[in-house]
């Protein structure tokens, strides 16, 4: 097993960078294997692929993708799509609390629930990645565990469990990784207040106040305002 | 000390010997720490080392000792306090017991044992008891692991050390260290006596094995698993602070010095110069100035040997415990046994 230094080799020559054809193949494969379980897909050409699967096929998706070559586990996490009721902490605490939207708008590949699982698998041979999402209903925040498919999912699911309060059926050991065992609340949920920020707005926030007019005039000539959709900068 | 002993009363002699013993133990320890640990190591690592205390940092040692002496003497709550406090004393004691038999000149020795080397090897292992006791009494898992490792290691390396010495004893025909010195300085290599017969030449294998075993006895890298600071924090010394730690520290370097003394007696001709150079034929004819010159010669040889010990210590990573045991039992002991056999055959043949 021990190989002298001179004999080490590259095992695989570099493969051409992936095109969108490969990504469409992945969608086709998932559609044929999961059927109705594949809810939605989103493909940004030359960039990345998102798929959303049903909760019932969450583990099956991992198995299918693993046998299709996506055998490198990247991460598991979750997203809480509820807009933060506390904003970004830039409000003056002495003012009355502003009205905030509570409308939940999901991102790529859509969604119906407040919580969504987010995972990513990579194919190290074809140099391709896929982002997998899965709706988790708020009344029953449990999905199947991936530990049986990817042993490395263990820690990621523990982290997701303590940060979002999402349960993982079949996980051997859902202890907290970071927080004390008797900690209450799930820190990465949007309705968990960032207390330090609530008590005293972060002073750094002044940076984004509009610039003095004279200064803005100098710089606005060479700016491309098309980037921000609502164009409210100076 | 015949010439002196007549004029000095018994208590004076005893006082002289105690002072001599302190000097013989502490002076090498201090010199090794300053020259090698502070300065040589720093130069090897492209830095200067201590520079502030005294010219060129030479008083750093005093500052360090002062610092350690001021610190509180802490014993862990669950430790076996009496034994815990005794352990560093045992370790340091074994160093003093060792230096007793080392001859520094024709008359400059503490005691003239006819089985000196046997005694030295025997009391050399007393420090194991101290280390084991320190590891056990600290009530700390790292200390315990360190103490156990030290015990296993020191016992394993005691054997090759003894076996390496057997070659010297066969060649010298005596276990008395003074006789071994004389035998080397009056000896001849195949009829040529220009250098005497320092056994480092004829017993080279024994010398190498002895030095490796010394390295292991002293728990210096690459054999420093008992203190392995990156895994066991500090091994058996973890819980010690203040002057008890200082005693371990002095013990470590003083023992290095004393073992280097013994190695130079066994292999480098000890305090002597080849007797042929001055026309001496036996110990009685050696002139009295060797009682002053001898210790200086010994000191020089000790510095050369400790330089080697420290050089290895600063450059090598450490073995794993099982690799160390394998090295002792599968390499060193068979080689030293073969060395004894060859020495015995040659001794009979010539």
């Amino acid at each position: 097993m021990v190989v002298p230094l001179s004999e080490t080799t590259d095992t695989a020559p570099p493969v051409a960078l992936p095109g969108d054809g490969l990504r469409e193949q992945v969608i086709d494969l998932l559609r044929s294997e999961l059927g109705e379980g594949l809810v939605d897909t989103h493909l940004i050409p030359q960039t990345d692929l998102w798929v959303r699967v049903d909760r019932s096929v969450w583990r099956r998706t991992a198995e299918v993708l693993r046998s299709a070559g996506f055998d490198h586990f990247c991460f598991i996490s979750a997203i809480d799509w509820l807009p933060s009721p506390f904003g970004r902490g830039e409000d003056d605490p002495s003012d009355p609390p502003p009205e905030r939207s509570t409308e939940i708008v999901q991102g790529y590949a859509g969604g119906e629930t407040r919580f969504q699982m987010l995972a990513r698998l990579t194919d190290t041979n074809r140099h391709l990645g896929v982002n997998i999402k899965c709706d988790v209903p708020t009344e029953d925040v449990v999905v199947d565990s991936w530990v049986q498919v990817f042993a490395g999912a263990n820690w990621h699911e523990r982290e997701t469990h303590e940060m979002f309060g999402i349960g993982f059926a079949g996980h051997p050991d859902l202890r907290n990784m970071y927080l004390p065992g008797d900690f209450e609340g799930y820190p990465l949920r949007k309705d968990f207040p960032l207390l330090a920020r609530m008590v005293k707005p972060w002073p750094g926030i002044v940076d984004v106040e509009p610039m003095p007019v004279a200064d803005a005039d100098e710089t606005s000539s060479d700016e491309t305002p098309a980037v921000t959709p609502d164009g409210d900068q100076s | 000390m015949y010439s002196l002993a007549i004029e000095i009363p018994y208590w004076g002699q005893s006082l002289l010997r105690v002072l001599g013993g302190l000097v013989a133990v502490l002076l090498p320890a201090g010199t090794i720490v300053y020259v090698f640990l502070f300065k040589m190591m720093s130069f090897m690592q492209s830095r200067l080392g201590p520079m502030e205390a005294g010219p060129y940092g030479s008083l750093q040692l005093i500052a360090e000792v002062g610092k350690w002496l001021q610190k509180e003497d802490i014993a862990p709550e669950k430790a076996d306090v009496r034994i815990f406090k005794m352990a560093p004393i045992i370790v340091l004691l074994s160093t003093f017991l060792l230096v007793v038999v080392v001859p520094f000149g024709p008359d400059a020795y503490f005691t003239d044992f006819s089985v000196g080397i046997f005694y030295a090897l025997a009391v050399g292992s007393v420090s194991v008891i101290g280390i084991l006791v320190a590891g056990w009494a600290s009530a700390n898992k790292y200390s315990l692991l360190g103490g156990l490792r030290a015990a296993g290691q020191l016992i394993a390396y005691e054997l090759p050390m003894v076996l390496a010495v057997v070659g010297v004893v066969i060649q010298a025909g005596s276990m008395n260290l003074q006789d071994i010195v004389v035998a080397q300085n009056t000896g001849q290599i195949f009829g040529w006596g220009g250098l005497g017969n320092p056994y480092v030449i004829t017993q080279f294998v024994g010398f190498v094995i002895f030095m490796i075993a010394v390295q292991a006895e002293l728990t210096q890298a690459p054999f420093d698993m008992p203190i392995a600071e990156s895994e066991l924090v500090s091994g058996y010394m973890t819980e010690y602070s203040g002057f008890r730690f200082l005693m371990f520290f002095i013990g470590e370097f003083a023992t290095a010095g004393v073992f280097a003394f013994i190695a130079s007696v066994l292999f480098l001709g000890g305090w002597g110069v080849p007797f042929g150079w001055f026309g001496w034929e036996s110990l009685d004819q050696v002139s009295n100035w060797m009682n002053i010159g001898g210790p200086l010669i010994m000191f020089t040889k000790m510095m050369v040997l400790t330089f080697i010990i420290m050089w290895v210590r600063f450059s090598y990573p450490r073995f794993r415990e099982d690799q160390l045991q394998r090295f002792a039992w599968k390499v060193l002991i068979p080689v030293s046994l073969a060395n004894i056999v060859v020495t015995a055959i040659l001794k009979v043949a010539f």
């Binding site: 080490t8 570099p14 490198h72 902490g89 490395g152 940076d207 | 990156s230 895994e231 990573p317 415990e321």
Partner: protein, 390 residues
């Protein structure tokens, strides 16, 4: 769940059998050793709880979280440009490299691209952080095994690289130099020539370390065949970077994906090693440091002129969308999943740090090893606490 390699399985079974025999005679009892959170080998505050039988590990479990700073939550209350000052504290030894993927993700959402010169300088600084980071790893290797000299050489030579980073960015550890659309400043005068000199020095340093450590028999006997992670296990646990390549998986994000960075403009070799043991991991890192110096030199030769900042609005609002960008950081794949709602700041940022995955393999790989091997395996997996806990 765990797939043991044959060697580990056999040694484990043998050890179990020997224990069973001993237990009948001696009634031995295991011991739980708590390594850390304050321990010289844990570079910070990782804690390893190991159940020992003698000196053999029966099971071991890392406990992290002593340094969790909640960056994922904090990013939600920052604006996009402010986030970089947080995230370059994730892997604090290669901090510039942490900023790059986040900035690239924001640029991808805004559909802008940094000008070529900025891309070049970004890549150079990225590789410099890699050199600074990995050279410390190479020195630290010796310390973990009791050889105290290499770490001083590493600190000495890393200083040159840090000086370069400081010269260009003004910060030694936390440059905070990357901006959406480019860089804060252009390079100072004389920097290029100095960099060339330092790259030569760093290659000498690599040779020195190779002589001092990698060629040493004791080092090899401590590293070879220890802590073997087969390729399949490495992929399952999501190991990345040198840890994955040392298991024979040829996967390097610098080469294997197209990003608006300059890596595709240079010629470099991605080293892999078939063994998957501790030695392989260290060796691959050593080779990577050498490659990084060559990448920097090639980039210095071909650096284009021009501005270092694209035209971006003064107040940056990132359009609605999601982006995943990851780069090959010194420790492995570092990626940011950025969700934007068209606001001043991100809606959610998932930080995928390399060490978190790399260390999650520890319970698997530590089974059946000896206590001293815990240290070498941890050292060879190379983690940075901030990168585990974020």
């Amino acid at each position: 769940m765990t797939v043991l390699s044959d060697r580990q399985q056999l040694s484990y079974i043998a050890a179990q059998a020997a224990d069973a025999r001993l237990n009948v005679e001696l009634e031995t009892e295991g011991m739980t050793l708590n390594i850390g959170p304050q321990h010289p080998a844990t570079h910070g505050t990782l804690r390893i709880i190991a159940r020992l039988d003698g000196e053999q590990v029966v099971w071991a479990e890392p406990g992290c979280g002593y340094m969790h700073r909640g960056y994922e939550k904090l990013t939600e209350v920052r604006t996009f440009p402010q986030v970089t000052s947080l995230i370059n504290r994730i892997d604090w030894l290669g901090s510039f490299a942490n900023e790059v993927p986040f900035i690239l993700a924001a640029e991808q959402l805004m559909e802008i691209e940094a000008p070529p010169r900025a891309q070049w300088i970004r890549t150079i600084l990225f590789e410099l952080s890699r050199i600074a980071n990995v050279s410390l790893f190479l020195g630290d290797l010796g310390v973990q095994m009791g050889a105290i000299t290499p770490v001083f050489l590493a600190f000495r030579d890393r200083e040159y690289v840090l000086n370069l980073i400081e010269g260009a960015t003004g910060g030694r550890f936390h440059p905070n130099f990357d901006r959406i659309g480019g860089l804060k400043e252009d390079l100072p005068a004389g920097w290029v020539a100095e960099t060339r000199q330092v790259m030569r020095k760093m290659r000498q340093f690599c040779d020195e370390i190779e002589d001092l450590l990698f060629g040493n028999e004791i080092f090899q006997s401590r590293m070879r065949g220890i802590g073997v992670i087969p390729a399949d296990v490495a992929r399952q646990y999501g190991l990345t970077g040198a840890n994955l390549r040392a298991s024979g998986v040829d996967w390097d994000l610098r080469r294997d994906q197209s990003l608006p960075m300059a890596w595709d403009k240079v010629d470099f070799k991605v080293w892999t090693h078939p063994d998957g043991d501790s030695f392989a991991r260290c060796w691959v890192r050593l080779q990577e440091t050498r490659e990084a110096t060559k990448i920097v030199e090639q980039l210095l030769d071909t650096m284009p002129a021009g501005p270092v900042m694209a035209k971006v609005p003064r107040i940056i609002k990132v359009p609605e969308g999601e982006a995943w960008v990851s780069t090959e950081n010194p420790l492995g794949e570092m990626g940011y999943y950025v969700v934007s709602k068209g606001d001043l700041g991100p809606f959610r940022v998932k930080i995928r740090s390399a060490s978190f995955n790399n260390i999650s393999v520890v319970p698997w790989v530590l089974k059946g090893v000896y206590v001293p091997d815990i240290i070498t395996i941890l050292a060879s997996l190379y983690f940075i606490l901030g990168d585990i806990d974020r």
